[in-house]
Protein backbone atom coordinates (compact mmCIF):
# COMPACT_ATOMS: atom_id res chain seq x y z
CA UNK A 1 0.00 0.00 0.00
CA UNK A 2 2.85 2.36 0.92
CA UNK A 3 4.52 1.83 -2.47
CA UNK A 4 1.27 2.62 -4.27
CA UNK A 5 0.96 5.90 -2.39
CA UNK A 6 4.53 6.85 -3.35
CA UNK A 7 3.82 6.05 -7.02
CA UNK A 8 0.56 8.01 -6.90
CA UNK A 9 2.27 11.01 -5.26
CA UNK A 10 5.09 10.89 -7.83
CA UNK A 11 2.49 10.83 -10.61
CA UNK A 12 0.71 13.86 -9.11
CA UNK A 13 3.99 15.78 -8.79
CA UNK A 14 4.81 14.90 -12.39
CA UNK A 15 1.43 16.14 -13.65
CA UNK A 16 1.84 19.36 -11.68
CA UNK A 17 5.30 19.80 -13.22
CA UNK A 18 3.90 19.33 -16.74
CA UNK A 19 1.21 21.95 -16.11
CA UNK A 20 3.49 24.47 -14.44
CA UNK A 21 6.03 24.23 -17.29
CA UNK A 22 3.48 25.82 -19.64
CA UNK A 23 3.49 29.50 -20.57
CA UNK A 24 0.35 31.53 -20.02
CA UNK A 25 0.99 33.60 -23.16
CA UNK A 26 1.19 32.29 -26.72
CA UNK A 27 2.70 28.82 -26.77
CA UNK A 28 6.14 28.08 -28.23
CA UNK A 29 5.80 24.96 -30.32
CA UNK A 30 8.45 22.91 -32.10
CA UNK A 31 8.44 19.46 -33.63
CA UNK A 32 10.73 17.09 -35.46
CA UNK A 33 10.70 13.55 -36.80
CA UNK A 34 13.57 11.16 -37.26
CA UNK A 35 14.27 7.91 -39.10
CA UNK A 36 17.35 5.78 -38.46
CA UNK A 37 18.61 2.45 -39.69
CA UNK A 38 20.59 0.21 -37.38
CA UNK A 39 22.88 -2.78 -37.49
CA UNK A 40 23.95 -4.75 -34.46
CA UNK A 41 25.57 -7.88 -33.13
CA UNK A 42 24.94 -9.57 -29.80
CA UNK A 43 25.55 -12.91 -28.17
CA UNK A 44 21.90 -13.90 -28.53
CA UNK A 45 20.60 -12.96 -31.99
CA UNK A 46 24.06 -12.59 -33.57
CA UNK A 47 23.73 -10.14 -36.50
CA UNK A 48 20.54 -8.14 -36.80
CA UNK A 49 19.23 -4.97 -38.45
CA UNK A 50 16.39 -2.64 -37.75
CA UNK A 51 14.56 0.62 -38.19
CA UNK A 52 13.93 3.37 -35.62
CA UNK A 53 11.32 6.09 -35.94
CA UNK A 54 11.16 9.01 -33.52
CA UNK A 55 8.94 12.01 -33.10
CA UNK A 56 9.47 15.00 -30.81
CA UNK A 57 6.88 17.61 -30.00
CA UNK A 58 7.63 20.49 -27.64
CA UNK A 59 5.09 22.88 -26.19
CA UNK A 60 6.76 25.63 -24.16
CA UNK A 61 9.00 23.68 -21.81
CA UNK A 62 7.27 20.32 -22.08
CA UNK A 63 8.65 17.77 -24.54
CA UNK A 64 6.71 14.74 -25.81
CA UNK A 65 8.91 12.08 -27.40
CA UNK A 66 7.58 8.97 -29.10
CA UNK A 67 9.75 6.22 -30.51
CA UNK A 68 9.23 2.98 -32.39
CA UNK A 69 11.74 0.29 -33.24
CA UNK A 70 11.51 -2.89 -35.32
CA UNK A 71 14.38 -5.39 -35.46
CA UNK A 72 14.93 -8.23 -37.89
CA UNK A 73 15.23 -10.48 -34.81
CA UNK A 74 11.42 -10.14 -34.58
CA UNK A 75 11.64 -7.72 -31.66
CA UNK A 76 9.61 -4.50 -31.50
CA UNK A 77 9.56 -1.61 -29.07
CA UNK A 78 7.47 1.51 -28.51
CA UNK A 79 7.81 4.27 -25.95
CA UNK A 80 6.34 7.58 -24.93
CA UNK A 81 8.25 10.05 -22.76
CA UNK A 82 6.93 13.32 -21.35
CA UNK A 83 9.55 15.77 -20.06
CA UNK A 84 8.68 19.07 -18.39
CA UNK A 85 11.71 21.32 -17.82
CA UNK A 86 12.32 24.37 -15.60
CA UNK A 87 15.03 26.97 -16.00
CA UNK A 88 17.15 27.03 -12.85
CA UNK A 89 20.04 29.26 -13.91
CA UNK A 90 21.62 30.87 -16.99
CA UNK A 91 22.09 27.61 -18.93
CA UNK A 92 20.73 25.06 -16.47
CA UNK A 93 17.40 23.25 -16.57
CA UNK A 94 15.81 20.92 -14.05
CA UNK A 95 13.67 18.31 -15.77
CA UNK A 96 11.45 15.35 -14.96
CA UNK A 97 10.99 12.34 -17.23
CA UNK A 98 7.93 10.13 -17.17
CA UNK A 99 8.05 7.17 -19.57
CA UNK A 100 5.87 4.27 -20.63
CA UNK A 101 7.75 1.73 -22.68
CA UNK A 102 7.11 -1.72 -24.05
CA UNK A 103 9.18 -4.29 -25.93
CA UNK A 104 7.62 -7.25 -27.66
CA UNK A 105 9.85 -10.26 -28.28
CA UNK A 106 7.61 -12.00 -30.78
CA UNK A 107 10.40 -14.51 -31.43
CA UNK A 108 10.16 -15.65 -27.79
CA UNK A 109 6.41 -15.06 -27.27
CA UNK A 110 7.33 -12.70 -24.44
CA UNK A 111 6.80 -9.01 -23.80
CA UNK A 112 7.85 -6.51 -21.18
CA UNK A 113 6.26 -3.31 -19.97
CA UNK A 114 8.23 -0.56 -18.26
CA UNK A 115 7.15 2.57 -16.45
CA UNK A 116 9.90 4.93 -15.42
CA UNK A 117 10.26 8.20 -13.56
CA UNK A 118 13.42 10.25 -13.20
CA UNK A 119 14.73 13.68 -12.39
CA UNK A 120 17.66 15.35 -14.10
CA UNK A 121 19.66 18.49 -14.67
CA UNK A 122 20.97 19.62 -18.04
CA UNK A 123 23.28 22.33 -19.26
CA UNK A 124 24.74 23.01 -22.71
CA UNK A 125 27.52 20.43 -22.38
CA UNK A 126 26.25 18.13 -19.66
CA UNK A 127 23.16 16.27 -18.61
CA UNK A 128 22.65 13.90 -15.67
CA UNK A 129 19.55 11.95 -14.76
CA UNK A 130 18.60 9.47 -12.06
CA UNK A 131 15.35 7.67 -11.26
CA UNK A 132 13.57 4.37 -10.88
CA UNK A 133 11.74 2.06 -13.22
CA UNK A 134 9.59 -0.99 -12.82
CA UNK A 135 9.37 -3.80 -15.34
CA UNK A 136 6.73 -6.46 -15.85
CA UNK A 137 7.64 -9.49 -17.95
CA UNK A 138 4.88 -11.68 -19.31
CA UNK A 139 4.34 -14.41 -21.89
CA UNK A 140 1.83 -14.56 -24.74
CA UNK A 141 -1.06 -16.90 -24.00
CA UNK A 142 -0.32 -17.42 -20.33
CA UNK A 143 -2.75 -19.65 -18.48
CA UNK A 144 -4.17 -17.24 -15.89
CA UNK A 145 -5.54 -20.05 -13.77
CA UNK A 146 -2.27 -21.92 -13.20
CA UNK A 147 0.79 -21.32 -11.02
CA UNK A 148 2.42 -19.77 -14.07
CA UNK A 149 2.79 -16.06 -13.47
CA UNK A 150 4.12 -12.81 -14.84
CA UNK A 151 7.33 -11.44 -13.33
CA UNK A 152 7.63 -7.96 -11.86
CA UNK A 153 10.98 -6.29 -11.28
CA UNK A 154 9.80 -3.52 -8.97
CA UNK A 155 12.96 -1.57 -8.19
CA UNK A 156 15.50 -0.88 -10.88
CA UNK A 157 17.76 2.14 -10.67
CA UNK A 158 17.76 4.26 -13.81
CA UNK A 159 20.71 6.50 -14.65
CA UNK A 160 22.08 8.51 -17.53
CA UNK A 161 25.06 10.86 -17.84
CA UNK A 162 25.62 12.64 -21.14
CA UNK A 163 28.56 14.86 -22.07
CA UNK A 164 28.54 16.97 -25.21
CA UNK A 165 31.64 18.43 -26.87
CA UNK A 166 30.12 21.43 -28.69
CA UNK A 167 26.88 21.86 -26.78
CA UNK A 168 23.48 20.40 -27.60
CA UNK A 169 22.40 23.49 -29.55
CA UNK A 170 25.53 23.85 -31.72
CA UNK A 171 25.53 23.30 -35.49
CA UNK A 172 27.37 20.01 -34.97
CA UNK A 173 28.09 18.01 -31.89
CA UNK A 174 29.76 14.87 -30.60
CA UNK A 175 28.52 13.33 -27.36
CA UNK A 176 29.17 10.40 -25.05
CA UNK A 177 26.55 8.72 -22.86
CA UNK A 178 26.71 6.30 -19.95
CA UNK A 179 23.25 4.96 -19.05
CA UNK A 180 21.36 1.75 -18.43
CA UNK A 181 18.60 2.67 -20.85
CA UNK A 182 17.88 4.44 -24.10
CA UNK A 183 14.74 5.05 -26.13
CA UNK A 184 14.50 1.38 -27.07
CA UNK A 185 15.55 -0.70 -24.08
CA UNK A 186 15.71 -0.56 -20.31
CA UNK A 187 18.50 -2.77 -19.01
CA UNK A 188 19.19 -3.77 -15.43
CA UNK A 189 21.29 -1.50 -13.20
CA UNK A 190 24.63 -3.28 -13.72
CA UNK A 191 24.26 -3.78 -17.47
CA UNK A 192 25.30 -0.30 -18.67
CA UNK A 193 24.99 0.98 -22.24
CA UNK A 194 27.94 3.09 -23.45
CA UNK A 195 27.16 5.36 -26.39
CA UNK A 196 29.17 7.66 -28.61
CA UNK A 197 27.25 9.74 -31.11
CA UNK A 198 27.21 12.79 -33.29
CA UNK A 199 24.84 15.24 -34.95
CA UNK A 200 25.33 17.63 -37.87
CA UNK A 201 22.75 20.21 -38.93
CA UNK A 202 23.68 20.08 -42.59
CA UNK A 203 20.68 22.00 -43.99
CA UNK A 204 18.11 24.46 -42.74
CA UNK A 205 15.69 21.85 -41.33
CA UNK A 206 17.75 18.69 -41.74
CA UNK A 207 20.26 17.01 -39.44
CA UNK A 208 22.31 13.84 -39.85
CA UNK A 209 22.68 11.72 -36.71
CA UNK A 210 24.74 8.64 -35.90
CA UNK A 211 25.35 6.71 -32.69
CA UNK A 212 27.31 3.63 -31.69
CA UNK A 213 26.50 1.71 -28.50
CA UNK A 214 28.44 -0.94 -26.64
CA UNK A 215 26.88 -3.12 -23.97
CA UNK A 216 28.80 -5.50 -21.70
CA UNK A 217 27.33 -8.68 -20.26
CA UNK A 218 27.02 -7.09 -16.85
CA UNK A 219 29.54 -5.55 -14.51
CA UNK A 220 30.63 -8.47 -12.35
CA UNK A 221 32.55 -6.61 -9.66
CA UNK A 222 34.08 -4.59 -12.44
CA UNK A 223 34.97 -7.37 -14.85
CA UNK A 224 33.30 -6.94 -18.19
CA UNK A 225 32.61 -9.25 -21.10
CA UNK A 226 31.23 -8.15 -24.45
CA UNK A 227 27.53 -8.65 -25.06
CA UNK A 228 26.22 -6.25 -27.72
CA UNK A 229 27.28 -3.61 -30.20
CA UNK A 230 24.87 -1.45 -32.22
CA UNK A 231 25.35 1.30 -34.82
CA UNK A 232 22.52 3.65 -35.75
CA UNK A 233 22.49 6.34 -38.45
CA UNK A 234 19.77 8.48 -39.99
CA UNK A 235 18.26 11.91 -40.43
CA UNK A 236 16.11 14.31 -38.43
CA UNK A 237 13.67 16.71 -40.08
CA UNK A 238 12.43 19.74 -38.16
CA UNK A 239 8.76 20.22 -38.98
CA UNK A 240 8.46 23.39 -36.93
CA UNK A 241 11.21 25.36 -35.17
Amino acid sequence: MGKRIVVLMAFCVFCAAVLSAQNEAKHDISADVSAQGLAGYNSTYKWYGGLDLKGNFTVDNVNFAMNLEALTANVYSAGLTVTPAFKLCENGFLFFDGTLHSRIFACYKTYEFVYAGSVGFRMRHFSAQVGLFSRTIDAFGRDWHSLDNYVTEPFNLLYKVKVSVMGFDHLWDVYAVLANYNEYEYERMWEPIFSLGGRWDFKDRWSAVAEGTLEPAGLFHGTVKFYEMTIRAGVVYKIKE
Binding site: N42, T44, F155, L157, F220, G222, K225
Partner: protein, 303 residues
Protein backbone atom coordinates in the same frame (compact mmCIF):
# COMPACT_ATOMS: atom_id res chain seq x y z
CA UNK B 1 59.66 37.11 -3.73
CA UNK B 2 57.02 35.99 -1.21
CA UNK B 3 54.59 35.37 -4.08
CA UNK B 4 57.16 33.23 -5.88
CA UNK B 5 57.78 31.09 -2.76
CA UNK B 6 54.05 30.72 -2.22
CA UNK B 7 53.57 29.78 -5.87
CA UNK B 8 56.32 27.13 -5.63
CA UNK B 9 54.77 25.67 -2.48
CA UNK B 10 51.36 25.44 -4.12
CA UNK B 11 52.91 23.75 -7.15
CA UNK B 12 54.83 21.32 -4.93
CA UNK B 13 51.66 20.51 -2.98
CA UNK B 14 49.67 20.01 -6.18
CA UNK B 15 52.32 17.72 -7.71
CA UNK B 16 52.51 15.71 -4.47
CA UNK B 17 48.74 15.20 -4.47
CA UNK B 18 48.78 14.19 -8.16
CA UNK B 19 51.67 11.77 -7.67
CA UNK B 20 50.12 10.21 -4.54
CA UNK B 21 46.77 9.83 -6.31
CA UNK B 22 48.43 8.17 -9.29
CA UNK B 23 50.34 5.73 -7.04
CA UNK B 24 47.20 4.89 -5.04
CA UNK B 25 45.23 4.37 -8.27
CA UNK B 26 47.88 2.06 -9.74
CA UNK B 27 48.10 0.06 -6.48
CA UNK B 28 44.34 -0.24 -6.28
CA UNK B 29 44.04 -1.39 -9.85
CA UNK B 30 46.85 -3.89 -9.85
CA UNK B 31 46.93 -5.70 -6.56
CA UNK B 32 45.22 -4.24 -3.55
CA UNK B 33 41.65 -5.30 -4.23
CA UNK B 34 41.20 -8.62 -2.50
CA UNK B 35 37.84 -9.38 -4.06
CA UNK B 36 37.59 -6.88 -6.88
CA UNK B 37 39.48 -7.02 -10.13
CA UNK B 38 39.75 -3.26 -10.75
CA UNK B 39 41.57 -3.49 -14.05
CA UNK B 40 38.69 -5.58 -15.29
CA UNK B 41 36.60 -2.41 -15.33
CA UNK B 42 38.43 -1.45 -18.51
CA UNK B 43 39.36 -4.74 -20.10
CA UNK B 44 39.33 -8.45 -19.44
CA UNK B 45 42.47 -10.50 -19.33
CA UNK B 46 41.05 -13.95 -18.88
CA UNK B 47 39.20 -16.28 -21.25
CA UNK B 48 35.94 -15.35 -22.95
CA UNK B 49 32.82 -17.47 -22.26
CA UNK B 50 33.28 -19.09 -25.70
CA UNK B 51 36.89 -20.04 -24.90
CA UNK B 52 35.94 -21.51 -21.52
CA UNK B 53 33.09 -23.41 -23.16
CA UNK B 54 35.49 -24.88 -25.73
CA UNK B 55 37.74 -26.13 -22.95
CA UNK B 56 34.75 -27.64 -21.12
CA UNK B 57 33.59 -29.45 -24.25
CA UNK B 58 37.11 -30.73 -24.87
CA UNK B 59 37.14 -32.03 -21.28
CA UNK B 60 33.77 -33.73 -21.83
CA UNK B 61 35.07 -35.38 -25.01
CA UNK B 62 37.99 -36.82 -23.05
CA UNK B 63 36.08 -37.83 -19.91
CA UNK B 64 32.60 -38.61 -21.23
CA UNK B 65 29.23 -37.85 -19.66
CA UNK B 66 28.14 -39.54 -16.41
CA UNK B 67 25.16 -41.77 -15.74
CA UNK B 68 24.17 -42.21 -12.10
CA UNK B 69 22.26 -45.50 -11.91
CA UNK B 70 20.43 -47.42 -9.19
CA UNK B 71 18.88 -44.35 -7.60
CA UNK B 72 15.47 -44.73 -5.86
CA UNK B 73 12.47 -43.41 -7.77
CA UNK B 74 12.10 -40.63 -5.19
CA UNK B 75 15.48 -39.24 -4.22
CA UNK B 76 16.94 -36.25 -2.39
CA UNK B 77 19.45 -33.93 -4.08
CA UNK B 78 21.59 -31.70 -1.84
CA UNK B 79 22.28 -28.29 -3.41
CA UNK B 80 24.67 -25.60 -2.24
CA UNK B 81 25.65 -22.26 -3.74
CA UNK B 82 27.72 -19.16 -2.99
CA UNK B 83 29.92 -20.66 -0.31
CA UNK B 84 32.62 -17.97 -0.75
CA UNK B 85 35.22 -19.80 1.28
CA UNK B 86 38.00 -17.53 2.54
CA UNK B 87 39.42 -18.77 5.84
CA UNK B 88 36.48 -20.57 7.45
CA UNK B 89 34.41 -23.51 6.26
CA UNK B 90 31.84 -23.95 9.01
CA UNK B 91 28.80 -24.04 6.74
CA UNK B 92 30.53 -26.09 4.07
CA UNK B 93 31.53 -28.66 6.70
CA UNK B 94 27.94 -28.78 7.93
CA UNK B 95 26.68 -29.38 4.36
CA UNK B 96 29.20 -32.20 3.84
CA UNK B 97 28.37 -33.78 7.22
CA UNK B 98 24.60 -33.60 6.63
CA UNK B 99 24.90 -34.99 3.12
CA UNK B 100 27.09 -37.89 4.18
CA UNK B 101 24.86 -38.71 7.15
CA UNK B 102 21.89 -39.03 4.78
CA UNK B 103 22.44 -42.67 3.94
CA UNK B 104 19.60 -42.82 1.39
CA UNK B 105 20.70 -39.74 -0.56
CA UNK B 106 21.94 -40.51 -4.08
CA UNK B 107 25.69 -40.44 -4.72
CA UNK B 108 25.63 -36.93 -6.16
CA UNK B 109 24.97 -33.37 -5.04
CA UNK B 110 25.12 -30.00 -6.81
CA UNK B 111 27.16 -26.85 -6.29
CA UNK B 112 26.09 -23.72 -8.18
CA UNK B 113 29.34 -21.76 -8.04
CA UNK B 114 31.15 -19.03 -6.10
CA UNK B 115 33.11 -21.64 -4.20
CA UNK B 116 35.73 -19.16 -3.02
CA UNK B 117 36.41 -15.43 -2.93
CA UNK B 118 40.05 -14.57 -3.39
CA UNK B 119 42.87 -16.48 -5.06
CA UNK B 120 44.53 -19.58 -3.63
CA UNK B 121 41.56 -21.10 -1.77
CA UNK B 122 40.42 -23.84 -4.17
CA UNK B 123 42.69 -26.38 -2.45
CA UNK B 124 41.32 -25.35 0.95
CA UNK B 125 37.78 -25.87 -0.40
CA UNK B 126 38.69 -29.24 -1.90
CA UNK B 127 40.24 -30.43 1.37
CA UNK B 128 36.88 -29.87 3.08
CA UNK B 129 34.78 -31.71 0.48
CA UNK B 130 37.24 -34.63 0.24
CA UNK B 131 35.07 -36.78 2.57
CA UNK B 132 32.38 -36.78 -0.15
CA UNK B 133 34.78 -38.34 -2.65
CA UNK B 134 36.09 -40.70 0.03
CA UNK B 135 32.51 -41.93 0.54
CA UNK B 136 32.23 -42.72 -3.17
CA UNK B 137 29.95 -39.77 -3.86
CA UNK B 138 30.39 -36.83 -6.22
CA UNK B 139 29.63 -33.10 -6.24
CA UNK B 140 28.74 -31.67 -9.64
CA UNK B 141 30.00 -28.09 -9.96
CA UNK B 142 29.50 -25.13 -12.22
CA UNK B 143 31.67 -22.03 -12.04
CA UNK B 144 30.58 -18.73 -10.43
CA UNK B 145 31.79 -15.21 -11.11
CA UNK B 146 33.99 -15.19 -7.97
CA UNK B 147 35.70 -18.36 -9.19
CA UNK B 148 36.77 -16.47 -12.33
CA UNK B 149 38.18 -13.23 -10.94
CA UNK B 150 41.94 -12.73 -10.96
CA UNK B 151 42.33 -15.12 -13.87
CA UNK B 152 41.23 -18.10 -11.73
CA UNK B 153 39.55 -20.12 -14.51
CA UNK B 154 42.75 -22.03 -15.32
CA UNK B 155 43.06 -23.17 -11.70
CA UNK B 156 39.33 -23.92 -11.43
CA UNK B 157 39.41 -25.94 -14.64
CA UNK B 158 42.47 -27.93 -13.56
CA UNK B 159 40.82 -28.86 -10.23
CA UNK B 160 37.10 -29.15 -11.03
CA UNK B 161 37.08 -29.80 -14.77
CA UNK B 162 34.25 -28.93 -17.14
CA UNK B 163 31.69 -26.31 -16.21
CA UNK B 164 29.28 -27.10 -19.06
CA UNK B 165 28.07 -30.70 -19.22
CA UNK B 166 25.14 -32.98 -18.56
CA UNK B 167 24.58 -36.20 -16.68
CA UNK B 168 21.71 -38.64 -16.45
CA UNK B 169 20.13 -40.18 -13.37
CA UNK B 170 18.50 -43.61 -13.82
CA UNK B 171 16.18 -44.82 -11.09
CA UNK B 172 15.49 -48.39 -10.05
CA UNK B 173 11.91 -48.02 -11.29
CA UNK B 174 13.08 -47.12 -14.81
CA UNK B 175 12.72 -43.33 -14.68
CA UNK B 176 15.38 -41.10 -16.20
CA UNK B 177 16.20 -37.52 -15.17
CA UNK B 178 18.58 -35.22 -17.03
CA UNK B 179 20.77 -32.62 -15.27
CA UNK B 180 22.46 -29.90 -17.34
CA UNK B 181 25.18 -27.63 -15.95
CA UNK B 182 25.54 -24.23 -17.63
CA UNK B 183 28.46 -21.88 -17.12
CA UNK B 184 27.25 -18.31 -16.48
CA UNK B 185 30.11 -16.84 -14.44
CA UNK B 186 30.34 -13.86 -16.79
CA UNK B 187 26.59 -13.28 -16.94
CA UNK B 188 26.28 -14.73 -20.41
CA UNK B 189 26.43 -18.21 -21.89
CA UNK B 190 28.05 -16.94 -25.07
CA UNK B 191 26.85 -17.95 -28.50
CA UNK B 192 28.58 -21.36 -28.58
CA UNK B 193 27.30 -22.59 -25.22
CA UNK B 194 23.81 -21.35 -26.00
CA UNK B 195 23.79 -23.33 -29.27
CA UNK B 196 25.19 -26.40 -27.48
CA UNK B 197 22.34 -26.13 -24.96
CA UNK B 198 19.73 -26.11 -27.71
CA UNK B 199 21.40 -29.09 -29.41
CA UNK B 200 21.41 -31.07 -26.14
CA UNK B 201 17.76 -30.22 -25.42
CA UNK B 202 16.76 -31.08 -28.98
CA UNK B 203 18.62 -34.40 -28.89
CA UNK B 204 17.30 -35.40 -25.46
CA UNK B 205 13.72 -34.21 -25.96
CA UNK B 206 12.27 -37.50 -27.12
CA UNK B 207 14.33 -39.81 -24.93
CA UNK B 208 11.68 -40.09 -22.23
CA UNK B 209 13.15 -38.05 -19.40
CA UNK B 210 10.91 -37.57 -16.40
CA UNK B 211 12.58 -34.25 -15.47
CA UNK B 212 15.14 -31.97 -17.04
CA UNK B 213 16.93 -29.90 -14.38
CA UNK B 214 19.24 -27.05 -15.42
CA UNK B 215 21.67 -25.59 -12.89
CA UNK B 216 23.78 -22.48 -13.30
CA UNK B 217 25.24 -19.68 -11.21
CA UNK B 218 23.77 -16.36 -12.43
CA UNK B 219 20.09 -15.77 -11.74
CA UNK B 220 17.56 -14.60 -14.31
CA UNK B 221 15.04 -12.47 -12.41
CA UNK B 222 15.48 -9.34 -10.33
CA UNK B 223 12.32 -9.31 -8.28
CA UNK B 224 13.23 -7.17 -5.29
CA UNK B 225 15.98 -5.04 -3.82
CA UNK B 226 17.89 -8.09 -2.51
CA UNK B 227 19.39 -8.45 -6.01
CA UNK B 228 20.37 -4.79 -6.29
CA UNK B 229 24.05 -5.57 -5.88
CA UNK B 230 24.26 -8.32 -8.48
CA UNK B 231 24.57 -8.40 -12.25
CA UNK B 232 22.24 -10.56 -14.29
CA UNK B 233 21.97 -11.88 -17.80
CA UNK B 234 21.12 -9.20 -20.36
CA UNK B 235 17.42 -9.19 -21.11
CA UNK B 236 17.57 -10.55 -24.67
CA UNK B 237 19.52 -13.55 -23.39
CA UNK B 238 17.15 -13.97 -20.45
CA UNK B 239 14.14 -14.15 -22.78
CA UNK B 240 15.96 -16.40 -25.23
CA UNK B 241 16.86 -18.93 -22.53
CA UNK B 242 13.38 -18.84 -21.00
CA UNK B 243 12.00 -19.62 -24.42
CA UNK B 244 14.42 -22.56 -24.80
CA UNK B 245 13.53 -23.95 -21.36
CA UNK B 246 9.85 -23.65 -22.18
CA UNK B 247 10.07 -25.23 -25.64
CA UNK B 248 12.05 -28.23 -24.40
CA UNK B 249 10.01 -28.88 -21.24
CA UNK B 250 12.66 -28.12 -18.64
CA UNK B 251 11.14 -28.81 -15.20
CA UNK B 252 13.45 -26.78 -12.97
CA UNK B 253 16.15 -24.14 -13.34
CA UNK B 254 18.41 -23.79 -10.29
CA UNK B 255 20.36 -20.56 -9.83
CA UNK B 256 22.43 -18.85 -7.14
CA UNK B 257 24.42 -15.59 -7.22
CA UNK B 258 22.10 -13.17 -5.42
CA UNK B 259 22.31 -14.91 -2.00
CA UNK B 260 18.55 -14.68 -1.60
CA UNK B 261 15.87 -17.27 -2.23
CA UNK B 262 13.13 -16.95 -4.81
CA UNK B 263 10.71 -19.35 -6.42
CA UNK B 264 9.10 -18.25 -9.68
CA UNK B 265 7.10 -20.13 -12.27
CA UNK B 266 7.30 -18.57 -15.72
CA UNK B 267 6.01 -20.27 -18.87
CA UNK B 268 5.45 -23.42 -16.80
CA UNK B 269 9.15 -23.66 -15.90
CA UNK B 270 10.10 -23.39 -12.21
CA UNK B 271 13.04 -21.08 -11.45
CA UNK B 272 14.47 -21.67 -7.98
CA UNK B 273 17.11 -19.22 -6.80
CA UNK B 274 18.80 -20.75 -3.77
CA UNK B 275 20.32 -19.08 -0.71
CA UNK B 276 24.01 -18.57 -0.04
CA UNK B 277 25.89 -21.02 2.18
CA UNK B 278 28.57 -18.46 2.98
CA UNK B 279 29.88 -18.42 6.56
CA UNK B 280 28.75 -15.44 8.65
CA UNK B 281 25.93 -14.80 6.19
CA UNK B 282 22.88 -13.87 8.25
CA UNK B 283 20.56 -16.30 6.46
CA UNK B 284 22.76 -19.20 5.31
CA UNK B 285 20.86 -22.18 3.91
CA UNK B 286 21.40 -25.15 1.67
CA UNK B 287 18.60 -26.72 -0.31
CA UNK B 288 17.33 -30.28 -0.62
CA UNK B 289 15.30 -31.22 -3.68
CA UNK B 290 13.04 -34.23 -3.38
CA UNK B 291 12.79 -35.50 -6.94
CA UNK B 292 9.96 -37.87 -7.74
CA UNK B 293 7.00 -37.41 -10.03
CA UNK B 294 7.10 -33.83 -8.74
CA UNK B 295 10.06 -31.86 -7.39
CA UNK B 296 9.73 -30.48 -3.86
CA UNK B 297 12.09 -28.17 -1.99
CA UNK B 298 13.37 -27.97 1.56
CA UNK B 299 15.62 -25.20 2.83
CA UNK B 300 18.00 -26.06 5.66
CA UNK B 301 19.21 -23.23 7.87
CA UNK B 302 22.79 -23.87 8.96
CA UNK B 303 23.13 -20.96 11.43
Amino acid sequence: MKDSIKHNRVNFFRRSVELTSAVVLVLLMTSCGKNIDYLGIFMTFNESPNERFEQSIQYNAEHGYDTVAGVPDDYRVYVMSDIHVDFSTKNLDRFVADYLSDTVAPPFSLCLGDLINATGHFDYFLDHVQPVADAGRKIYYTVGNHDLYFDKWKEYFSKFGSSTYWFEVHTVGGFKDLYIALESGSGTLGVDQRNWLEDVLKTKKNQGFRHIVVFTHTHFFKKDTSQGHTSNFNLEETYDLMDLFDRYDVSLVLQGHSHSRDLTTFKDVVYLRVDALEDHYPQAFYTILTVGNNINYEFINVD
